[in-house]
């Protein structure tokens, strides 16, 4: 009996020692959010992303290593707007961490900090394809939204860790200043694209177009999430020719055959844009991401 008591105390101490730690443990659903959280949190936080920037975060699955990370998090930052609908609910249930359940201070849905485009008024049917009724969730591709996300994250970190609130606000200020310096330069670099019609592979660049003033007039996918067919591609070829559309933009993880075909048929230039921090090895910060996007838009490398 005494032995059992000793073991129980030992286990409790072990659990307690694991539960107490200095830095705020921040877990994010994507690497973009992780990059912003790291910029705002600095050395005071430990940031881990659940999905890598090389993959489409919508199609992740609740892996056991993700359960482990969420079970220990103090703050969970998500994109929201149904981006993580396929894997976050089972993950939250499996991780059973009361600190980061929706409604707790440790859960922050960043879609509430920005204004979503593409909200669907009226009935949404799955016959329309993979439509996000709450709005398009790719909002991190507008740098102004990046600042709004940083602001929401800094405020929440300050609430969870009041002792370092000033620290987070200071870093937020630095983040905003860098943004203020970079945004006009990016805009100037993309001035030639202003008001130009562009085709995207998937409905994921509406915020980018909004931020830099080009127009996305059509998608390669006939409906969101539905693969292009021979018929839909030939309709697109007609449109590219008739409207004089000069640029096709797409994420690196989509199939290239459709883009190659459209390029061969019409000569349309193709820009493969990194859609996330971590999509390429040289993109480590949120600012790197836009540097790379602006570069790729200016020099479309082809499919």
């Amino acid at each position: 009996m005494e032995k059992l008591f000793k073991i129980s105390i030992g286990l409790l101490l072990l659990v307690a020692s694991l539960a107490t730690h200095a830095a705020l443990r921040v877990v994010t659903s994507t690497q973009d959010v992780a990059a912003i959280a790291a910029a705002v949190g600095g050395a005071r936080v430990q940031v881990e992303s659940l999905t890598p920037g090389t993959r489409d975060p919508h199609f992740a699955a609740a892996k056991p290593s993700m359960i482990h990370k969420v079970s220990r998090a103090d703050l969970l930052l998500v994109i929201g707007a149904d981006m993580e609908i396929g894997w976050l609910p089972p993950l939250l249930q499996a991780a059973r961490n009361a600190r980061v359940q929706p409604g707790s201070p440790g859960y922050l849905d960043l879609s509430t900090a920005v204004s979503l485009l593409g909200k669907v008024d009226g009935p949404v049917s799955r016959a329309m394809g993979d439509v996000h009724a709450k709005g398009n969730p790719h909002y991190w591709l507008d740098p102004r939204n990046g600042l709004r996300m940083a602001q929401a994250i800094a405020t929440r970190m300050g609430e969870l860790d009041p002792a370092h609130e000033g620290d987070y606000q200071q870093r937020l200020k630095a983040f905003g200043q860098t943004m203020e310096a970079k945004l006009p330069a990016w805009r100037a670099a993309l001035e030639p694209l202003r008001d130009k019609p562009v085709i995207a592979y998937h409905k994921s660049f509406v915020y980018l177009a909004d931020a830099f003033g080009f127009r996305i007039v059509d998608e390669v996918e006939p409906k969101p999430g539905i693969a292009p067919s021979a018929a839909s591609l030939s309709a697109l070829i007609t449109r590219i020719r008739n409207d004089g559309i000069g640029l096709l933009i797409m994420e690196p993880y989509y199939e290239r055959r459709s883009a190659i075909y459209l390029h061969e048929q019409t000569g349309i230039r193709v820009a493969v844009l990194p859609q996330s921090v971590g999509a390429q090895p040289d993109i480590n910060s949120y600012f790197d991401l836009f540097d790379a996007i602006v570069k790729a838009l200016n020099n479309p490398g082809g499919p």
Partner: protein, 453 residues
Amino acid sequence: MDQYLRVKRVAVIVGALLCYPETASAEEEREALRRQLTEMKQQLQRQQQAYERQIDALEARLDGLEAKSDEPALATSPAVAASPAVTRGDFQIGLSGLFAAGGSSVDNDALEALQAGAHDPNQNGFTVQNVELSIGGAVGPYFDGEAHVIFQIDADGETVVELEEAFFTTRSLPWGLQLKGGQYFTEFGRQNPQHPHTWAFVDQPVVLSRFFGGDGLRSQGLRAAWLMPVDWYSELYLGVQNPKGETVTSFLNAPGEDIGGHTLIDRDARDLGDLLYTARWLNGFDVSDTVSMNVGVSGLWGPNASGTTTDTAIGGADLYLKWQPARSQRGFPFVSWHSEVLARRYEAGDPGDPSRETLKDWGLFTQALWGFKPGWVAGLRAEYASGEGDTSADPWRDTRKRLSPNLTWYPSEYSKVRLQYNRDWADHLPDEIADSLWLQFEFNLGSHAAHMF
């Protein structure tokens, strides 16, 4: 950092104040300290306000940049979305329908033993395998609840309704603990708790149909799970369930049924020791950035109905590996490999019964899936099941082998079409072999289904 030090100083001052002896001479000093404290508070507040002003100014300047562009899409200003909509998105309801058509080189009677799963296609012609109504959501801050009701049309054309699962789980117990109670699939191995519409093949593995019956192992009970405080995912499940009914086949199965020539009696659980005890230990790791792995062991102990004191024990081990490259479109391509091995020890007949014996059975299945392009998955499954002794005429204990290649197409996330060929080798069949071809169709209505790892 400055602020951190300042807060620390406040703490020291407050601490000192509390400890200071109550003397008349301290009164003045205390007053001074109080003033200092108030000043510091005000300073902090001013600083915070300054930060807020700076942020507001920055936002205004960025909005200014925004206003300079004449982009009409910018009409959706932050003000529009400033009201985060509170939705009750956690209530989920869905209906999935699973249908099959096909045929076999053997007749319907033989198929019933070959395709022993209650949701397997088991007739020459059409089978409504499983129409499932699922409802779930958060009950409150402390519990989640979910229920699954199955509608089926049996081989005689009769509609069958079953309460497949209905249970609660706790949301936020401390120390990584979770309780689950109600009617639920026992967490034994990886395959058993899966619902038919998430299976990778049209039918359930032979060894599971043998040990757990057509519907899989599920019953009423309570289980605790503990997410262990170690540096990888490691979870221990311990549970207790009612041992009686046709969904706990290896235990107190329905009276009149038989196993290895022993007719089952009507036996009830007499005391708590007569319940079904369940255990599972599951571990998960990322082997690399592209490969993840689950490995688990499971055990079951409970009474069986071949006698008044007889018991059954079942053990199993399972392994699951999944590879997905760094770049993937809609979760494709991928390769996954899932294997399970199970063994059963069944005491048949009470002591003193001349026919008393111990029935030993085992079986395994191993299956690989290759998602070779978005929406397309090719699969191959190999199975073996066998019982000790002269079992060649017993369709539930004979030596069986099965090889099943299949091809699945997902037109969207909410539907699938699957073609599967089964080659069966079974001792009890007159020709010892059977060939079957099944076409399966599935639709899902309602809530977004979870992406299973």
